[in-house]
């Protein structure tokens, strides 16, 4: 899990964690619900990982990507009576398309400008959700979705949970591999040395669009989970605050690995559900924690855990990008 060479250790340890999580929550409706919520956030945070954490493009329209994906999926599943195996991917594709269109419109922008415009887009989108009654069912949203059908069979809640946790594991692992691949290296280099990437013949704008599209597709799975778990989909689920929540997850969990985004989701959900004082202070505690991490612990929880483990192993200082692209 530390050096690029030991990609296998990473896959196995994380798979063990995933399975452990499945077993731990199995049979308890509460824990399953919590697990589903955690996975929902995890998908959004993972969706932000590639373009934002790796690529340095802070697009804040993620509530829109979620919403588009989820509504598309729900419409196909309700009106079209489609199997989840079809409606979900199509939702992802539509979300990706949205991201590409917005990304193209804002291709000249970066930093604060990009954040502001995409945030505006997200806000306008929420207005539209309530406004476009004929498409989105307006404020009522889309009620009474049936039990999701996957590969022909109706999906029981606990099966859904298992599949979802598995999916999170797969996505995070895929991103982790991508991160060390040439593509991932180019995206990461784009964050601080875009000119250099461009000078190597790589059109940075295309690179950004591709990563935005992939990010939106991943995040939209989280949106579809809202719909699947609640048998209904309401505009409230796609307010902009969810964007803020999920931006902070990878930072809190740790930027060095996609697993940090997942850990961030776990931590946030834990705060929200376990710490009663946290409720009284709203998200104050959470945002202060994020500030603290940003200022004094930029590597996030996971980053320091990795360093710690490596120290234990007697390896020198953590070389987080160590041995990139050797795997494969």
């Amino acid at each position: 899990m530390l050096r690029g060479g030991s990609a296998w250790v990473e896959s196995i340890v994380t798979l063990a964690l995933a399975i452990a999580a499945m077993v731990a929550v199995h049979g308890s409706p509460y824990l399953e619900a919590v697990a589903l919520l955690t996975c929902t956030y995890a998908f959004i945070a993972l969706g932000m990982y590639l373009p934002f954490i790796m690529g340095g493009a802070l697009s804040m329209a993620y509530n829109a990507y979620l919403g588009v994906g989820a509504y598309a999926m729900a419409l196909l599943a309700t009106r079209g009576d489609w199997d989840l195996a079809w409606s979900l991917p199509i939702g992802m594709i539509i979300a990706a398309a949205t991201a590409v269109v917005l990304g193209f419109a804002t291709r000249r922008l970066s930093g604060f400008y990009l954040a502001a415009v995409t945030l505006l887009f997200g806000i306008a989108f929420t207005t539209w959700l309530v406004d476009a009654e004929s498409v989105t069912g307006g404020s009522g949203g889309l009620q009474g979705l049936r039990v999701p059908v996957f590969a022909g069979k109706p999906l029981s809640n606990s099966t859904l949970v298992m599949l979802t946790i598995l999916a999170v594991w797969i996505v995070a692992l895929a991103l982790s591999r991508l991160r060390n691949s040439p593509f991932g290296v180019a995206v990461r280099a784009r964050r601080r040395a875009a000119i250099a990437v461009e000078s190597c013949g790589i059109p940075v704008s295309t690179l950004t669009l591709v990563s935005l599209a992939l990010g939106a597709a991943v995040a939209s799975v989280g949106g579809s989970l809202f719909a699947v778990t609640n048998h209904a989909i309401v505009p409230e689920s796609f307010a902009v605050d969810i964007v803020f929540l999920c931006i902070f997850m990878p930072l809190l969990g740790g930027q060095d690995r996609p697993w940090g985004a997942v850990l961030g989701a776990v931590l946030v959900v834990t705060f929200t559900f376990q710490l009663t004082f946290f409720k009284e202070t709203g998200s104050l505690f959470f945002s202060l924690a994020v500030l603290l991490v940003l200022v004094i612990a930029p590597r996030g929880v996971l980053g320091y855990v990795l360093i710690g483990l490596q120290k234990l192993r007697g390896g020198g200082h953590a070389k987080t990008q160590g041995g990139a692209a050797r795997n494969g």
Binding site: A7, A174, R177, L178, N180, S181, P182, F183, G184, V185, A186, R188, A189, R191, R192, A193, I195, A196, V197, E198, S199, C200, G201, I202, P203, V204, T206, L207, V210, L214, K319, Q321, G322, G323, A324, A325, R326, N327, G328
Partner: protein
């Protein structure tokens, strides 16, 4: 001519009243190193920017490999085989030297949308794309070794300025360019760094490319270049053999004139 790699014809560039480049023409042939020298404000940087694509000329034509040199830098790399280093090294400090050079290796494969999607899939599946085969065969290590760049698993924030310049050169080399633009590669380099650059140039020439070498340090440039173009106040005042250039009255005028002034 077939082996004509870069050609500038009557290039002009002005910033308001200031004429940064005044009707400059240049040629670069395969296997040739053209040294571009001149004092500050001579127009070196402007010319570099015009070639690299940061700016566009007011008039005049620049062609490389017989095709007009225009559009985004990435297009110039793809179409005109241009590779370059930067006066202020453009390196991702949080990545390792290996990763920064890998971008050069990946450049050709990531140049198009389809290529990027292919690499995306390959990256996730971890299965062999061309880059990954090559890097598995130690392309990066080979180049690094050729440049005398040690321990490329270090993060670039741990490297010296000289090493960063070597990383840039290595990155440029790995794109397999036809035309290499070295922008002040010796600034901040120690002897070891200079040796690395020499090695790099030798490597490039082996593949029958051309090199444009821009630097203040006339002596090093002279020792490396086949031909020197001397710029002063935006105009080319000398173009020819390095030794002749060093001895030329223009040279005396430009530099010693400057020294006296200084």
């Amino acid at each position: 001519m077939a082996d004509l790699i870069l050609e500038c014809r009557g290039v002009n560039k002005a910033y308001g009243a200031v004429r940064a480049l005044n009707d400059v023409s240049l040629e670069l042939r395969a296997g040739e190193v053209l040294g571009l020298v001149g004092p500050n404000g001579a127009g070196k940087t402007t010319l570099v920017d015009l070639i690299g694509g940061e700016q566009r000329p007011d008039s005049g034509a620049i062609t490389a490999l017989g095709r007009p040199l225009a559009g985004a830098p990435s297009r110039r790399a793809r179409v005109n085989g241009l590779a370059r280093t930067f006066q202020h090294p453009q390196v991702a400090l949080d990545l390792t030297a290996r990763e920064n050079m890998l971008i050069g290796l990946a450049g050709p494969s990531l140049a198009t949308l389809s290529g990027q999607l292919r690499e995306l899939a390959a990256g996730i599946l971890g299965a062999g794309s061309r880059i990954q085969r090559d890097s598995a065969h130690g392309e990066v290590e080979r180049v690094a070794a050729a440049l005398g760049l040690a321990d490329i698993e270090r993060e670039c924030r741990e490297l010296t300025l000289g090493e960063l310049r070597l990383v840039e050169v290595g990155r440029a080399l790995l794109t397999r360019p036809a035309l290499m633009l070295l922008d002040e590669p010796f600034a901040g380099s120690d002897a070891h760094g200079v040796a690395g650059i020499r090695a790099a140039i030798a490597e490039i020439l082996r593949n029958g490319c051309g090199v444009i070498l821009v630097d203040h340090n006339v002596d090093i440039v002279a020792s490396l270049a086949h031909r020197i173009a001397l710029l002063n106040l935006g105009a080319k005042v000398f173009d020819g053999d390095p030794k002749a250039c060093l001895a030329s009255p223009e040279m005396q005028a430009v530099y010693f004139g400057e020294r006296e002034a200084a």
